[in-house]
Symmetry: C2
């Protein structure tokens, strides 16, 4: 299996990407990585590590997309960027999947433009894995699209269900619709209409799920508009960091009066919690609905996050998740169900 | 100052409401409370406490609104509910403000129907105080309205600014618009249009603020649609509880090997954090834009939360916050500004 990695993407690239690629190769079998980006810089990173016999290669890209580049401007003016070349490599079947921790809007737009959508899919969605008290859940859309229509949320439910069944190895994942009340009729115009579509489909739908309940593990898949999903995701990130800072302040204030054992205890508890909630453990979020596997990773990705994003790309490719989603849509299942639902 | 308290509202009522009212009376000067609800039940709670000389009175209400009553059904069929009577009392000027921890949708609809909006206000908003690393911020709308229009968000900015300036004693609070990117042009249709209106007004606007930054304290007021605000609020509540449970699990696992001092240290740190982030410390969220002070409190309100909600009602009344908001709207400032903005 071959992965095209945007070696320039992310705050700590290319050190993080090169290190992450080597980590993935050492950990997973039958894997080779094409590092796409500034050849000189990538080579320097490779030279600092012993990887003469590893299946890594470099594909030069003369441009790098910045975090503030707009998707349109990048598509027009950065046709030789590491993001574009990595996606081109997947398009020409020289790699099975691409991974990038760069500008996610540009990755999304470029993937749409170069690779296109799976037949039947109206809009792709970013599917992010988040921790719950029981295990994990998939949130989608985490920010690919704003101003979604009910049909989009309905399709997110189908794609999210297929994705969750593979990554959680669960034949019947429970799908919830993020809303502001549990009752069927609660929500805004979008969720009320989406509720009807999903309820009348074959999706294993548990109904509306409120914000405070997503972490309890009731739903394996949480469906929402990309604006709402991105707010939920970012608020969670911000709050988790804030609580950590607040708790550390409290503990620091008391540290003088506390024994060594106490301090160590807290440190360990924090480290374990961090591991459970750290995004880098999950690594990558696929763009569900794009015709080939594209995985985006957090802009602050460490080498470990990149390694795990490559792992996600591998699972995505090997398990043929896109084929399953494609089958759902190709068979016209979703469209037929929508017609039935709209007739009710 | 006289407060009409919905004595039947909240999971722990009427014990929590009676206890909270007594607490408020003992703590704040010139305060009397009308306990509205089932006379027998309220009297029983009063008899259990020594309050023969306190300025509390009972106003009987034969009905109680349940949490699953719809606003429409409550308005039609529960005209003698504790919520309705408490609001009627404010309408007839027999009380200066009302407080309820009951069904917030019903409180909102009843207040709108009985008391009406301030002149010029299109939609009222629930303004909730949340903790930040620096201090606190006001989030609005926290769930009064869904499917808001740009004009609504613009008015929320004006009302939120006025409210924050009083409760934070800050002449120039910073107002941010909750969105999915910091750049002016990022967001969905609603936020992009709202951005222009607020930017071209006299509001002290700091632009878009992303979900991860609301807790950093950059903004004193965070403006959003009620659906989005409710999701942000509830996700925060859910995550804070989840992190507490996860950390406790970690600590319990290690407790056997830890010294007493360590366990105590953690317990204290948690208690302090809880105090900093506990909703009951802030107590009540006003319905900004209603013509008289109405304060809603969390359904899970304890006596302390009720006491603090009464405090919020008192500040709201004494500082004449509604007069300030009313002045902003009456002088046609907002409408004039909107015309200017739409001409640009």
């Amino acid at each position: 299996m071959k992965i095209a990695l945007d070696a320039m993407g992310g705050d700590f690239a290319p050190a993080s990407t090169v290190e992450g690629a080597i980590g993935a190769i050492n950990e997973y079998q039958d894997l080779s990585v094409i590092l796409v980006g500034d050849e000189t810089k990538i080579k320097k990173e490779l030279d600092e590590r012993d990887c003469s016999n590893l299946p890594v290669s470099i594909r030069h890209a003369s441009q790098t997309v910045e975090m503030d580049d707009s998707p349109l401007s990048a598509l027009r003016h950065k046709k030789d960027s590491s993001i574009r070349i990595a996606i081109d490599i997947v398009k020409s079947n020289d790699a099975d999947a691409m991974v990038s921790a760069g500008n996610s809007g540009v990755v999304m737009a470029t993937a749409l433009y170069v690779l296109g959508k799976l037949p039947g899919v109206e809009r792709p969605a970013i599917a992010t894995v988040m921790p719950s008290l029981k295990d994990h859940f998939v949130l989608l859309d985490a920010g690919a699209n704003v101003d979604c229509k009910p049909l989009h949320l309905y399709q997110f439910a189908i794609m999210g269900e297929a994705y969750a069944s593979f990554i959680f190895e669960n034949d019947n994942p429970r799908v919830g619709l993020l809303s502001i009340g549990e009752e069927d009729a609660k929500g805004n115009e979008l969720t009320k209409e989406s509720f009807k579509l999903i309820k009348n489909s074959s999706v294993n739908f548990i109904g509306n799920i409120e914000g405070q309940d997503i972490f309890s593990g009731e739903a394996d898949v949480v469906v929402c508009d990309g604006f709402v999903g991105n707010i939920a995701l970012k608020v969670s990130e911000g709050l988790a960091e804030t609580i950590a800072v607040m708790l550390k302040r409290e503990i620091m204030e008391k540290a003088a009066s506390a024994g060594k054992e106490g301090a160590l205890l807290i440190k360990e508890a924090f480290a374990n919690l961090k591991k459970r909630t750290d995004y880098s453990e999950y690594g990558g979020a696929p763009l569900l609905g794009i015709s080939k596997p594209c995985i985006i990773s957090h802009g602050r990705s460490t080498a470990k996050a990149i390694k795990n994003a490559i792992k996600v790309a591998g699972v995505f490719h090997k398990k043929r998740i896109l084929d399953v989603i494609s089958k759902e849509f190709n068979e016209g299942l979703s469209r037929r169900e929508i017609i039935v639902a709209s007739e009710k």
